[in-house]
């Protein structure tokens, strides 16, 4: 066991897999010699060479396409998109090709590509360094979609993703890279070493794709969330003195509806929270599914807490971000209803 922040945990996952499996290659913009703009691939090229850890042209569409071709030829590429906000030029290759190749070739061809990309706000990145586009991938049949909320899960899920023969879009909430951010920018930063899930095994292990985690057991209501918002919601519920059950979704596809709905069926109340814009966001799928499966147990409408339906503005970061205040209002409303 070692203390790792999210960056180290992700780096360790790739290090372990590059070491174990000669088919694993890592590619992306600035990820080789430089080690990535967030240093997630630091040291990997030095250790595994320029043919295993490749700097690429600035062409996200080309990166995904090349990774698909490599995957078809037996490699297991891990492609980094520098910011999730820049994944759109690769969207066609992801949606039309990566997601559909196994299907259209009846299983004869597939490309086991993992696409890693930092998402989310809270770093003063403005509208093009803060987006959370998970919903537009979750809607695409054939993709697995993952977002960890802590170093332990991050490493285990990334190894599971790399080993998975299906394509995985792996979102990294960048505001969590260095510590479990609770939504309050004015509070001193907390390091991962102060968090139990900052304890990470050095070697190989996996966290299964398709399983949600109970981040906190509780009985007053269920909060269904993922990524940075896990920590924001924990702090908000704590502040209210609520015994909330917090379900960390971890993988949007396949979605662990059993765990989620079992919790809501028990508590009868539910708040859903994510950083992404609200309208047609992933929270909509969660709410739609939960109301369908838990209708007779629900004592109050399910509320969604999310980013506003605007681009992510530079100057109003903390008015935009769905921080504790917004979560608290929803929790109160749901607890008071009925």
């Amino acid at each position: 066991m070692a203390q790792m922040n999210l960056i180290h945990a992700l780096n360790s996952a790739m290090d372990v897999m590059l070491g174990r499996d000669p088919a694993v290659v890592v590619l992306g913009e600035d990820i080789g010699y430089f080690g990535g703009v967030f240093r997630v691939t630091e040291g990997l090229q030095r250790k595994y060479g320029e043919h295993r850890v490749l700097d690429t042209p600035i062409a996200e569409g080309g990166i995904i396409a090349a990774a698909i071709g490599m995957g078809v030829n037996g490699l297991r590429p891990v492609a980094e998109i520098q910011f999730a906000d820049y994944i759109y030029p690769g969207y066609d290759q992801i949606v039309s090709e990566l997601a559909r190749l196994r299907y259209r070739s009846a299983g004869e061809f597939f490309a086991p590509v993992t696409v890693r990309t930092p998402c989310g706000g809270g770093i003063r990145g403005g509208q093009t360094h803060s987006q959370s586009p998970e919903a537009i991938f979750a809607h695409v049949s054939g993709l697995k979609v993952v977002m960890p909320s802590n170093p332990y899960d991050a490493k285990g899920l990334l190894i599971a993703s790399i080993e998975d023969d299906d394509p995985v879009i792996f979102f990294e909430p960048k505001r969590l890279y260095n510590g479990p951010f609770d939504g309050n920018p004015n509070q001193a930063a907390v390091p991962w070493s102060a968090h139990p899930l900052g304890e990470v095994p050095e070697g190989h292990y996996t966290v299964p794709i398709g399983k949600a985690a109970i981040a906190r057991a509780g009985s007053d209501l269920t909060i269904v969330t993922y990524g940075t918002m896990v920590h924001v919601c924990e702090a908000a519920a704590r502040g209210l003195g609520l015994d909330a059950e917090i379900v960390d979704v971890r993988t949007m596809v396949p979605l662990d509806t059993d765990t989620i709905c079992a919790s809501v069926a028990r508590t009868g109340r539910c708040v859903i929270a994510h950083e992404a814009t609200r309208f047609a966001g992933f929270g909509a799928e969660l709410a739609a599914t939960i109301q369908e499966q838990c209708f007779w147990n629900l004592e109050a409408p399910i509320l969604r807490v999310a980013g506003w339906d605007t681009p992510y503005p530079h100057a109003f970061e903390w008015e935009y971000f769905p921080g504790q205040a917004r979560v608290v209002r929803a929790l109160r409303t749901v607890m008071e209803a009925g």
């Binding site: 030829n73 037996g74 299983g107």
Partner: protein
Amino acid sequence: MPTRSRLHVPVTPARPGEISDFSWLRLSPAGAIARPEPGARSGDITFLADGLVRVLDDAGEAIGPWHPHLEVQDLQIGLRHMLLTRVFDDRMQRIQRSGKISFYMRSLGEEAVSVAQAQALRPADMLFPSYRNQGLQIARGRPLVDLMCQVLSNTRDMCKGRQLPVLYHWREGNIFSISGNLATQFPQAVGWAMAAAIRGQDAVAASWIGEGASAEADFHHALLFASVYRAPVILNVVNNQWAISTFQGFAGGEQRTFAARGPGYGIAGLRVDGNDFLAVHAVTQWAAERARTGHGPTLIEHVTYRGAAHSTSDDPARYRPRDDYQHWPLGDPVERLKQHLIRLGEWSEERHAGLSAELEDHVAASWKEATRFGTLTDPPRLDPHLMFEDVFREMPPHLRRQDAELRAERGQG
């Protein structure tokens, strides 16, 4: 001197009711273009992008430095495969009219591109085709029944009913799955070739794209990545002059050849008479040797003509002269190879007629065999529950639920 610019709109040389015009087409005589060493620096061979490599002259004689000196038997096999492609296409077209298949796309006039290239490459070389490269399947020996079952979406369809007709794949034959989305396979071929170089495989990748589809971003991605990593790949632009209704000028062919894009990215670019079996074979061999010896990618523009409609959904008489193909200056690839073989004394009109008849029979017999496994209108039918497989390697819970729902809907639940 005008002080205002005016939007230029590319010129389409002849529309319905007008007389075909190919005077704009830049040709070189057979044998006129030099053949550099396959290892030549791309900067030193830019002339290849503007000329037109041709081996067969108008009399059917093979001449010049690109003459590949193939065995007669190989030429005869090439002729057979081109003719089989054509007979197969014609039959499928007629069958589509009859309603037994939903859709079809012919490669009339472009058979040399696929057949000669498949012959010039090795079986381990990986092919990333477009939808008009059925000749690759045929030249690599794919049983027609397999292709027909795909076109029928029947119980032996390699795609399990999931793809439109003609979007084949063949794993054992090293032919990649065809996408309905244009151009996407081009940079994937480059990625495959990069992996071949990383893994030290002695194989090259080849891919095909229409001149119309070369406008897509993926064309650029392919050239760029191929150039940067010097990938062992052959990138083919099949310039058949038309993209559905749109003339190649709209893809940028009015100002410069498509082959010239190559040198722009620092890779070899080469323009070839796509209806000349020998020339296509020769340039492919050259590009393959270039790739195999570590000299990187080649972009080949095949100058040819789409003799038929775009697909069975299309009627070219709406946008080009009905007899346009008859005026195409580069002729018919089957006819040209046939004349060459006759000139060599290795073929005759009688043998040709015999071969045609044999292939017609073969296609008819294959069709009979294929329909045993079902057609659009007649059983047996694929199990619709196959629809839920292969979305992922293992079926996740939500698809199992939907599968069950469909069973209930169909009264099987």
